[in-house]
Symmetry: D3
């Protein structure tokens, strides 16, 4: 066994409620067209195909959608999540009842298109910073109710997940610092309240704050909207005592210069909020 | 009273489950930072501001988020959904407990950013076809679990909603036609099964199909991926017997020429699946 | 393949939440009698039998109930939903654990008795208007939480479904007309707001309204409480421009004369709100 | 204070999930007609009126429906559940937003019509046995998911509730007796398993069983399908040791003769499964 | 077949929602450690072992937990619920995917540890009163949301269940008696309201109340905090007309003397609220 | 403002679903006794009183229970969560309808008794290690479905929370190390997969593992079942590079000696799984 990561995957237990809710949203009282025109005993086959090149994400969601409408559906994954594929690549093959095939089609595609869109965009960002020590991270700017799978898609694209929710990291901002009477007091109060498994991050707008937060024992510094030369100075001031996270308005054009400042990570909200669906289709044969 | 439409609005009863689920997704076991650093008795104020120009959508979702965490929150809408605003416009003012303000911030923004992104994109498409008889429509290519509010955002942007789910329109495609032995047989079978309040749409790839479907009494024809000159012929063949809907690969560059063919409506999946979040911020004062 | 409709059926995915809720309502903390007196390893057999003649509806709900309590239950349908059967006809045979058999019995029967009651009543109404062009339709006067299956039962009995809910048809009544300043203005405003897949129905109490609504492009006219001779005049005025729906106080005695006026459809609330359970039993052999 | 019972009432906490589910079933993505035609600021008034004489049940469900769609709705109950009223009696007055009024109307009526139908039928049965010692009871033959309110409606009509679910009474039937090797063994085994707060009822088809079950300490005997003269003998055999319950095929014509046999209670499934909706309307003024 | 009770068991249908909620509480967005370090194709084995002697309860909950995360898990119960086992006894063997094994471990243990703790404590109480006619009963002092399984654990330990909830027994206390103007009036009013399947219990603090409640036909008397000699007098006064239940501050030291007074049952809140988790481990082999 | 922590509190938004579920579990179809005997218009008062000395936790849950059954309930907290109180201290006063008071009583008490039991036990442990640098932490050995409030109760008692769920900390155990081929490889693989906001803890059974894990950059070392002298050596080896957590079989007698070894934290499962309910009563006045 090597230290190679396994292909990312989503536990069916975790995604089942999401896929079921999506199917109920689309089916409501039933698929009228299918019930009227497709004989119940007819079976069908289909392949899901990338029309453009991209990074795959969310195939288990599609698989679960077909299986939920036809317990005897046979689904074969022809690619794995996280894999980069060329245009015209088949990523999934399904054989099931014709009714289930047509009724689940839109939900299956909506998931894979959106998640592969995120993974593909993430992979583009990640490629830009290859060779630097910086890691790429997402934010909480995800579509409401889809955080589980959108953060998963970021991992498929080669990104890392920042905090999942408001309860797994302390993030101290300017308002907090002002209320507590200084960055040291804010960190002290946070440490007095939280458990030892939670990290503390402090948002810094100036190099003075950077020094004080690192001195006070912040685990991570959020270096907000700093240009590369300032970031470089911040990294030197910190000198490894805290992780340095660059954030704010970073795009595909600027991310390389940010990464080369020596920051540990770069968080980019656009990975999730700026992604659009990838062009992926289901070719059906009844 | 005139026939002017009211500003679009979302009934709180309809969106409450969605906002609650989004808050639970983000809060999980609680907002650690806020609980550690913000005194419970502190109150705060904030305004939500468009950083860029755009069309407003989703303010009630933001309002509901603040009210859910603080029953005595005072929220004032400074713009209405559907309104086009300039950059640096304040669209909502909230005064509530500081804890509720910070804990609801991300959810409130995630909703308004995404929905205003959709409304803004829709408005751009709608402007392109002004003066023609064509109406702009969305599709079922929405984010899973958010169809209710994404289709609402399309209306805010001046678009129309195509069918909501699989149970409120019959849409006959090539597979169905082949299975039934012809477009006439398929329409006949559909009519025999469904109620009188449901319309029947038929996907047509050729002008021959167009004529046969119109003859057979289809309410709507989905003219799939036809170039403008063919669309124009289709409209002439139909001669008002059915609604003509153009669909497939239409973008901001091509939509005008499509609209000028005389089709009744143009459906564009990109309104929802190709929109990105609009840059909108919450400026907090504790 | 012919255009014959398939036997109606309910997708298990759609009814599972309903059957599960019904079982939890009846079992609560468990079936005390069964747990105390029936050995867990005992298996049993039963047939479900119509004690009177009627039209079958809801067998999948019974099947699902048994399968939910015993995943290895074997259920055989001896009739299909929509089939008319004589008294003393067996419609379902089940073999499963004795505990599951007894614990699911009441829920299985409550569903089939109520739905077959509706289907049987619907079939009686439908027979009355055979040979006319009129179709029979239900209303929204269904038992709360059971609309999905009660409207299905109407289809089993040969009826058509009117709108499912408040979001799939515009129905303009006198109050709306008064508020909008006339039937034409009301229709115009409705058309300006809704998508092209939604039909517009207008309630008409007078022949004057009938003419104006048909002129204004209403898809359906609800002819409310009109006697047959007035209905006949309405049909003539409309002359095929809109569908004519007769409604209001129509019963088994009067429906034929209504149908013979030439209306397109007749909606009868009693199909669901006036039906009583059919006498159906489960004969158990442990 | 006297021992007079209070008017029956339903705790809002108990019915809220039911009313909410019913509203969501009817509204789905929204009330299209109301949103298109009714200005949001318009308020309205309505009274709910019995078109026929009957017994009132379910007014709190209607009240809750209006309040759920308009938190500032003012609802006044003009009658109380359990009250017998004449035709043309107003039982509820509501003043709220016009949109809420129209959107909640159908759900409010569906509940009150069905529950008042049950209460009215129950009251007719109850009147037949006035002056005898027999009490009238319902069964578990209720509409799935509505047991809570249908059993409440039986109480409104003057009936008593038999067991609510499978976990609050032991009911030993012939199959159980056969499996246990006799009525005495079955009762003994049941007593060995259950707590002291649960009663034991035994179904008896013969007078021999009646004697043995009473001897063995059954709390209640279910005298199934016995004619009045046999019931009378059963009552004599029991001599007050157990409660005697007559059941099976009892209708309005036969119930008096059954009650005069001296049985303690008479259970009638038709109270719930044989009731139809009462004619009740909402007269709206916008 | 004898009248021997079967081993107690929990129907999977009843516990599935509970186990699923517990797994979602523990897994949230996924088991990070397992996903990072355990290959998905690895399978594992484990045995669940009692570290101390005790009474087994809740094995089906553990079984369900493993099966929910791995549908092909093989679980073998090596003991049955209600069985007393020695320290170092293996009670369950599971073979499933290594990921499912580790992810379900804590939930499986938390259930079995708590429920076996309750069963073991109950069994100790039950042993103390062996040979008397008194039966041991629980109360409603259970952990919120776990009543179903905690009352089941009491049965596993040899106890009986008192009422499950507020709707399956009338329990008249001093406040009620004062409000109604006397114990007789309170019982009368209760009988006038409830069905015949519900028992009536009256809390008695004095021997005078005991006599009056028995005379008035109470099914059960709750003899609250009475010393053994007073209990004995109460039993004599009642003379079998009602069941006598001793309650209040009874512990392992005093329960025998209470049981010897001749009371029918003794209810002990500590069975559930005073139990601690039993030391039980899962020995894993990957 | 000082760095003093605020009194701990639970956001009503977070606990509402829990309290509602607990009330529905106890009320089911309604509180029979209250409905039969308490007039709806009667109001009442009560105080919640500690019968023994202890640490308060969970008052908001009680408050929410009363408010849920009576929206106009007036609840006054006489103590705050986290406060140590003497026996016979009143901690909450409520005035509401008599029905709500009696129906919510058991749920309110069950929550406060259990949570105060945990807080009180935690406070005893915490007192034992006062003056050392060690902090006290809980584990995931909580009652299923109650983790949110049980971990809150630990904070009320002066303890810290260890990880909340399987997704907010990496915890590498011996099985993982064996599978990965060594502690260094396991840590490396974990770091390659997770985000920067997640800490990594490694379970160490030997001093050799301690050194290797600290060298490899583990954030926390779980020193499992080590006697004090070995713990002391481990602390010296680590020399501040990682946090040292002592765990395994630590009780009130041994915890002081563990704390004096210089470890950073001590986790004790018994805080939650070994706590019993505290004796707290509600004294009602109707």
């Amino acid at each position: 066994m090597t230290t190679e990561p396994f292909a990312p995957s989503l536990d069916p237990f975790l995604i089942r409620p999401l896929v079921e809710a999506a199917l109920r949203e689309d089916l409501r009282s039933g698929d009228l067209t299918t019930e009227a025109l497709i004989p119940p005993e007819l079976s069908g086959r289909a392949t899901m195909n990338f029309r453009v090149a991209g990074t795959v994400a969310g195939l288990q969601l599609a698989q679960t959608a077909f299986e939920m409408l036809d317990a005897s559906a046979k689904v074969e994954l022809l690619a794995h999540d996280g894999q980069g594929v060329e245009a015209k690549t088949s990523v999934l093959r399904v054989e099931c009842s014709g009714r289930a095939l047509l009724s689940a089609e839109r939900v299956a595609l909506n998931f894979v298109q959106r998640l592969s869109g995120i993974a593909t965009l993430t992979a583009r960002y990640a490629r830009e910073i290859e060779g630097t020590k910086a890691r790429l991270a997402d934010t909480r700017k995800t579509t409401p109710l889809l955080r589980l799978v959108e953060k998963y898609a970021v991992r498929c694209g080669g990104g890392k997940n920042h905090r999942y929710a408001l309860d797994d990291l302390i993030l101290i901002k300017d308002n907090h610092i002002a209320l507590c009477g200084g960055v040291e007091a804010a960190i002290e109060r946070a440490k007095a309240r939280i458990g030892h498994s939670v990290k503390i991050e402090v948002e810094c707008d100036t190099l003075d704050q950077v020094g004080r937060a690192a001195n006070a024992g912040a685990d991570i510094l959020l270096l907000d909207n700093m240009p590369p030369d300032v970031l470089k100075q911040a990294v030197e001031i910190v000198a490894g005592r805290s992780l340095c996270e660059a954030s704010g308005g970073i795009n595909l054009t600027t991310i390389r210069s940010v990464a080369e400042t020596g920051v540990d990570l770069i968080s980019v909200g656009a990975l999730t909020h700026g992604a659009t669906n990838l062009d992926i289709g289901l070719d059906v044969e009844l």
